[in-house]
């Protein structure tokens, strides 16, 4: 066992990369759930985004266009969920599960012929001056722009929910859709938009894995990150900063346990492999012991006539 082989600076830098897809998917789902909609299809939307982004990036040679396509792909898939639950009044849990299964199948279909293909490299601009700061530079300021996008998205979602009128209306719809309707707010329209935002974020998160983190396409490559994102939103008590903390924690422990495995620590691999899940959930459960609770209308169908 040689712990000195672990470079803490590299470890922290790769923590951020590991956390980004999870953060993107979770922050989108957070907005969806704050509007009162429980979309269990995050995994399906992520993997669809992953292959849409991959295919477009390979065919156009532009990874940025790929990311855009991933967001659109995720949003279009979530629109299917929106139509089922908001207009056809289908059960949200069943529709969400179906969406995941559908997304997994659809992505394998689109992905035929892309196995083993190498996507165009993602530009990684070094931020001048800032990236030269010792220690902090390589950890924080030498990533691709999606990492910063995810951070500012979290900041934006937090500020919108807390300070803006749009955020207040979104929370009101998630809290009591009947009262929001009585006051004249368009419950269904707001929810559809929230669902599509969630889909776009999940799609981006998926493409981050297939274009940047792993750079290749394999079937089912999101491997459960979508489910972690769902759990993260709940254990983070629907609060954006806690979601970011949870994503970082999960990413950090994932990277650390890989390093520990490589360093040959005398703990069975299985325990190391389950550690990110255990530690993240444990920390967030302890943190969510305060008074915060779920949006009161979460998962309930709304029909204006009733």
């Amino acid at each position: 066992m040689d712990l000195s082989s672990i470079n803490p600076i590299l470890l922290l830098a790769s923590l951020i990369v590991a956390a980004t897809p999870l953060l993107l998917a979770a922050i989108g789902e957070l907005v969806t759930e704050r509007a009162g909609v429980l979309n269990l299809g995050v995994e399906g939307m992520m993997i669809t985004g992953a292959i849409c982004g991959f295919a477009i990036a390979v065919n156009t040679g532009s990874p940025v266009l790929g990311l855009l396509a991933a967001a659109i792909g995720g949003a279009v898939l979530s629109l299917l969920f929106a139509i089922l639950t908001q207009f056809a009044l289908a059960n949200q849990v069943a529709s969400g599960l179906a969406l995941t299964l559908f997304g997994l199948g659809l992505s394998s279909l689109i992905g035929q012929g892309y196995q083993g293909v190498k996507p165009p490299a993602f530009p990684k601009p070094e931020i001048p001056l800032l990236s030269d700061i010792p220690v902090l530079g390589p950890i924080v300021f030498s990533h691709d722009f999606v990492v910063y996008l995810a951070f500012f998205l979290t900041l934006g979602v937090w500020a919108m929910l807390k300070y803006s009128r749009a955020g207040l209306i979104l929370r009101a719809v998630g809290e009591n859709h009947d009262a929001a309707h009585a006051l004249g707010y368009k419950v269904v329209r707001i929810r559809v938009l929230a669902i599509m935002f969630g889909g776009a974020c999940a799609g981006l998160g998926g493409a981050y894995i297939s274009l940047i983190r792993v750079p290749q396409w394999t079937e089912g490559m999101t491997s459960g990150v979508g489910w972690i994102a769902l759990a993260l939103v709940v254990f983070a008590s629907w609060k954006p900063w806690r979601v970011m903390l949870g994503a970082g924690l999960f990413g950090g422990v994932s990277v650390l346990q890989l390093n520990l495995q490589a360093a040959g620590v005398a703990i069975p691999v299985e325990y190391l492999a389950m550690s990110p899940y255990l530690i993240t959930i444990l920390v967030l459960v302890i943190m969510s012991a305060d008074r915060s609770r779920a949006p009161a209308s979460l998962g309930k169908g709304f029909h204006a006539g009733t």
Binding site: A172, N176, L183, G184, P295
Partner: protein, 505 residues
């Protein structure tokens, strides 16, 4: 102040199978307090929803200030100066007072400015309210203040109030009426919906009476008696429940220093409640909604368990027994919420009869159901309590509120309870059905059972109770003989004015 503010001509709205409003016409003058009277289902709510832009009329027209008025949505109505205080509060429990008020405004100012304006208006009208409090922690009376202040901040020309006093103590009602009179003197017209006739006589200038969606009459409430108005609403003369004074016997049910925390986050904790109910007696428990009624029912039914000795039935401690064991011993309960608590909405009436009647009516045999007997039991309830439904196979959800209420009360009464506890037995039930439910409760007591009626309808409690007590913030007042209690005394038992003051200007 004179002149017509709102003029309604021939409004009609039909839903599949029912005409909610048929050719309704009337006028409201500037600064007038206009009462809209009618039984449940008479079409009052549909009518005000059309004025507020929530429902589009099929035909007919409205004029506001002599200009055509057809609000496509509530924000258009609000912009035109129409504000509404809802019967079931349209508030968001997890948000604070200022956020709730901002949601009901078209162009809310910044949160800091809004909080200052809320403080100013609440002070002006004697409705104290802290803008930073979470609405879920407020009492029912305070929640209504939130709604009223939300309306007042928009300088309404017409204020619609849908059953505003059902959640208030008599003292709070007086203060509300002061506020409304002041508004009316300033030129704000008020459309006041209620079925409390004495209130309408004190407050309103004119009344329009609806029955089955049609205007059946108008009157000047000050010059009419409550009975005349009631008979116009119902369309026939009313039957008043009669009681044969049975003998008050030994104690059946006893609560000893009962304290219990609420199971819901925004609930009320019960504190040190002691009471006794005797054979042949009706004990009425009043109080404003949300002062521990639901929690008390849960403790009596066995949904909330307590120390064994806190609840005693016929000398036997039962506080730690669940609902099924208590039912076997003869303590039956009927909770307030019909759909979802007293009855399972999507199950048939037979199945619902089985759910509470299985033990006492012998409807099961070693875990297997006796469907035949269950159906007979359901049919008996339907026949004895005049439940209007095609048959026992119908889902509970398909019944109107009043009919389902007759069913859930009848289901318990026919199981020959030793002690029956009911919460809001006639809530949302029309006058004729309410009278028959009250009669059934009186007959049950006369037959030797002990009956506890929890209700927010003081007239009902005074009509049927032998003794009366009131719940206030989870505590029970002294229990006093109901006969001869004055409204003021009752109001003080319910907690007085809860810190409200008369308007300052």
């Amino acid at each position: 102040m004179t002149g017509t503010l709102l003029s309604i001509r021939g409004l009609t709205k039909a839903y599949p199978g029912v005409v909610a409003n048929n050719d309704v016409s009337f006028d409201i003058g500037v600064g007038e307090v206009h009462a809209l009277l009618g039984e449940n289902g008479a079409g009052k709510s549909t009518l005000v929803k059309m004025i507020y832009g929530l429902v589009k009329p099929d035909s007919g027209e409205m004029e506001l200030h002599h200009l055509p008025f057809a609000p496509a949505e509530p924000s258009a109505a609000r912009a035109a100066g129409v504000a509404m205080v809802f019967q079931h509060f349209s508030l968001f429990e997890a948000l604070n007072v200022a956020e709730n008020i901002a949601l009901g405004m078209e162009n809310p100012p910044k949160m800091g400015d809004l909080a200052a304006r809320i403080r100013a208006v609440s002070d002006l009208y004697g409705l104290p309210l802290d803008p930073d409090r979470i609405v879920g922690d407020l009492s029912a009376g305070e929640r209504q203040r939130v709604e009223i202040i939300r309306c007042l901040l928009q300088d309404p020309k017409l204020l619609i109030m849908d059953e505003p006093t059902s959640v208030l103590t008599p003292q709070e009602v007086d203060i509300l009426f002061e506020t409304l009179r002041k508004l009316s003197a300033e030129g704000t017209a008020i459309l006041y919906i209620s079925h409390k006739l004495e209130e309408i006589r004190t407050l309103c200038d004119n009344a329009t009476i609806l029955r089955l969606g049609q205007v059946v009459g108008t009157c000047i409430p000050r010059d009419s008696t409550a009975r005349e108005m009631a008979e116009m609403m119902v369309g026939s003369s009313l039957h008043v429940p009669e009681r044969s004074s049975g003998d008050i016997g030994p104690v059946r049910l006893q609560l000893n220093n009962l304290s219990a925390a609420s199971s819901s986050e925004f609930g009320t904790t019960l504190k040190n409640i002691s009471l006794e109910v005797h054979t042949g007696e009706v004990l009425g428990l009043g109080g404003v909604a949300g002062n521990g009624q639901d929690e008390l029912l849960a403790v009596l039914s066995g949904e909330t368990l307590t120390a064994a000795g806190a609840v005693v039935l016929d000398g036997q401690p039962i506080g730690n027994m669940g609902p099924v064991a208590r039912r076997k011993l003869g303590l039956l309960t009927a909770p307030e919420e019909r759909l979802g608590h007293a009855a399972a909405p999507d199950m048939s009436l037979t199945e619902n009869a089985l759910l509470t009647g299985a033990e006492r009516q012998d409807l099961e045999n070693r875990g297997f159901l006796k469907w035949g007997r269950a159906k007979e039991f359901a049919e008996e309830i339907i026949a004895r309590f005049d439940v209007r439904t095609p048959g026992p196979g119908n889902a509970a959800r398909a019944l109107s509120g009043g009919n389902l209420q007759k069913f859930v009360i009848g289901r318990e009464v026919l199981q020959r309870p030793e002690v029956l506890v009911v919460n809001q037995p006639t809530w949302g039930v029309d006058a004729a059905a309410a009278a028959s439910i009250r009669q059934a409760l009186l007959d049950l007591a006369a037959g030797g059972a002990a009956v506890v009626v929890i209700s927010q309808d003081l007239d009902e409690l005074m009509e049927i109770s032998d003794r009366f007590g009131a719940l206030n913030e989870g505590r029970l007042s002294d229990i006093r003989t109901a006969k001869g209690l004055t409204v003021d005394e009752i109001g003080l038992m319910m907690g007085g004015a809860h810190g409200m003051e008369v308007a300052h200007v």
